[in-house]
Symmetry: C2
Subunit: 330 residues, 2 copies
């Protein structure tokens, strides 16, 4: 069956609040640098009060990724839960405006649209505290089978393993995708997410995943090893296509038994790494959906990541299609 979308993603719909912070601030607030922590409404309020002045930008890992796919000229769809409030309208507007298909049924509950308090240190590293809010209310009913069946690749974020109903939505989307002969992709999202849900993630990968995205820490956490090569080997044994980012060392794509190392693209000033992994995934997913070779997939990912770390916020500000065409990649 031909597809209407290159990528359909299911994720936690979140608006980011990005603000500069010092390392002292992170340790004073007991925040693990570079990680994502879940917080409740009360903590969100108290943490926001002591953060610096910031900017608001639509986020959510898978939402950022499909925004990147659309920016590359790909056809993308998104499933996620917002509330009927100002931030929900911002989220809906932004993802739709960049060209992603998104027709949400806003939650009826009292919780507002989810938000992520992102503290960005001088080195560009981001530390995230997420109040899921309405994203907690995503259920399997939000997953439209026709939309999932119409996508080349179904992309799921590991963050969805935290809200129980969202995990069911996740499983439903994967099941529909597999049944329709589509490829199912998963990102491990965060090393702490992997620690919390290791067995369930391994089961899910074994049963459903055609493509897995991870960074080094996440891959090693999944197999409880300190040895990157061992983790890569174990993951590649379980999944047809494995994509692992290694920061300044670039990335590795293992597919069809072949390993392709892709060097990192030259980077100017690193302003804010929020969304770097998400945009890398966007480039690779676009390439995989269009059956491009692994090296081109990796280079598209690197190009998208470089654009996003040069400015505040997790989604492209410059159309990625133009950048990729200028680089001769598409």
């Amino acid at each position: 069956m031909s597809s209407s979308f290159d990528v359909a993603a299911v994720g936690n719909a979140i608006v980011d609040v990005l603000a500069p912070a010092s390392d002292e601030f992170l340790s004073g607030e007991n925040l693990a640098k570079g990680a994502m922590m879940l917080i409740d409404a009360e903590r969100a309020s108290s943490l926001y009060t002591c953060m610096a002045a910031g900017v608001e930008a639509s986020g959510g890992s898978a939402g950022n990724t499909v925004a990147g796919v659309a920016s590359l000229g790909g056809r993308a769809a998104y499933v996620g839960k917002v509330a009927d409030d100002t931030l929900g309208e911002v989220f809906r507007h932004d993802i739709t405006a960049i060209g992603v298909h998104f027709r949400p049924t806003p939650s009826k509950g009292p919780e507002g649209t989810g938000r992520c308090l992102v503290n960005v240190t001088e080195d560009g590293q981001r530390t995230m505290c997420t109040y899921l809010g309405a994203a907690n209310a995503l259920t399997p009913e939000d997953v439209d089978p026709q939309l999932i069946e119409a996508a080349e690749i179904i992309y799921l974020e590991g963050y969805l393993f935290d809200p129980p109903a969202a995990r069911e939505a996740f499983a439903k989307a994967a099941g529909i995708g597999r049944k329709a002969g589509r490829r199912v992709a998963l990102t491990l999202s965060d090393a702490f997410v992997v620690e919390r849900h290791r067995d369930a993630l391994l089961d899910f990968i074994g049963a459903n995943a055609d493509i897995v995205f991870a960074n080094e820490a996440e891959a090693m956490a999944l197999f409880q090893t300190q040895d990157f090569d061992e983790a890569l080997k174990a993951l590649s044994a379980k999944v047809a296509t494995v994509v692992v980012t290694r920061g300044a060392q670039g990335s590795v794509i293992v597919t069809g038994g072949a390993t392709t190392a892709v060097e990192a693209a030259p980077v100017g000033k690193v302003v804010d790494t929020t969304g770097a992994g998400d945009q890398y995934a966007a480039g690779v997913l676009y390439g995989l959906a269009r059956h491009l070779d692994p090296r081109t997939c990796g280079r598209l990912g690197a190009l998208a990541a470089v654009e996003v770390i040069a400015h505040y916020g997790p989604r492209p500000q410059t159309p990625l299609k133009a950048l990729a065409e200028a680089a001769g990649l598409i």
Copy 2:
């Protein structure tokens, strides 16, 4: 009497929605490039729908300026009206977090916090459509005499001439400031504002203003001339201190009968000029409040403007105090 604040400002409290746009978009939407237009709630909704994906950042001209004063290490206070909603909380948080004294009484009306839809073209120019919302509800009761009396300089934005009750608040603040022997500063804000309220602005300047900020177009609109030198001469004849920005040609400060031309600071990539004039005013006001020489005042203004045009959003992302110290200006 000694002062508690370098600058106390009264302004329209606004949250900006900034998004990239093309010149074709501006003409298609009938928007005058570089200007500020007032729009109603319905138009705000329809325009937002067709804008690109954006970011939200606290704005409002005088709010941006006092944020800049605080970022320079100055003591600043703000008076403006927000609603009791998400954007109101964002505005309050951001201006407080950067160090500005702001104790608002949120409006009780049905209108949400004011927002400005800012379309930023490739050349960095910003075109603004403002839905005033709760800012319309600012009244003289919001102006606390003790706060105004405690400031070296009372700073008022010309945009306040649009909402009638805000104009009364504006007049009240100026009256209190003059009575307390403080300096009263006014920015003309926008050439169309000047066209709309020319006579009232001239009366106000003649009666109350010690310092007037303008750009070339605003100064010429005020005296209905095409000759910049004529406008500068006419304005200087009415006010003790005149500060006029001339874009790439730098700025001119006329005070105590002497004219000081200040060259523009070297500019890297212009990303978004939103807030450039506001930050220029911040640097000059800080300098004037501290009785620095006109040249240093102008250079502080240029330094603050250069920081803000290098990124999206109207307020400093890098602490201006550190930049000014590194430049040997403070």
